[in-house]
Amino acid sequence: MSPTNGKSSGPIAQGMIDATGMPALVLFASMVGYGSMAREAGLTLWTAVASTGLTWGLPGQIAMIELYALGAPVIAIVAASSAANARFLPMVLSVMPLLNEALPKKRWRYAAAQFMSLNPWAALMRRGPNMIPADRPPYYAGFAGICVSAALLGTGAGFVLAGALSRDVTLTLVFLNPVFFTLVFADARGRAAILAVLAGIVAGPLFHLLSPDWGLLLTGAVAGTGVYLADRALRGRHG
């Protein structure tokens, strides 16, 4: 990676390398699960693949196909799908400050926001602060590009393979996703991030029981703000 030349292909390649391997593999596998569920729900191959590319958020996609399969009204499907993906507001909000400086043109920020998902978010939050600002957008582009490719291929493969996979195999593929992301979050560094992960683990299911619709945002707002205030108090005390 050349720190002096922002146009170097170094950070793009680094992003692609970091995404290839576990992130792309796990994403491919969980999208195989989605593709096969989408076929069972009555989607066509191309609507299934397009939903991955356009929505680019698995919880919203699953809400969409489940309600579509039940024959729910369009407005109900769209509302549920959008609500399930409301997490993108705090997610994009938290990571954009790392990209803003090197993306003075707003249109690139809006383009970057479309491709944000858990994998590139975790990679940027972890590695971004140690990069020079100009390297962050190309790193992100390389990383997200591999993720999008793996997810589109996985969705198509899952659609084609639907029915050929046993229930146990599909179930294991679906479990791959929470296992992988548990470890991504177990690997969080820095006191504030580690405390926020621990608080979220406890608060997530509790707030979900309180309100399945708003539980996730409440978890972020309550547990996240609480941890921020605690961390700021600790910083004040120890300098």
């Binding site: 958020g57 769209v78 994009v92």
Partner: protein, 115 residues
Amino acid sequence: MVDGLDWKLWGIVLLCGITTYVWRALAVVIGGRVSPESESFKLFSCIAYAMLAGLISRMVILPEGLLAEAPLSYRLIGIGAAVAVFFGLKRNLAGGVFAGVTVFALLIVFADTPV
């Protein structure tokens, strides 16, 4: 292919994409002037970490859809194995994922439960 049902399906797929994008765009508008050194960035970062860890925890403990067919004990044992191997092998991501998924798969295949 150009029957009424297909157009309805394409419409739903497009609308779900657009309404998800609204959240992303809103974040770009709000976060346009936030610097990575600011207190706001630290706050947003705590909120996002807590929310996303909460999402994963909820997926394991209170899953929806297919994963709910596996018993809670299998899911927790799988996650426990993954975390143990991950830290046991000095934060080895691939090793942890492999251990967690293998333990879970063995449980659903060989343990006597209706999966």
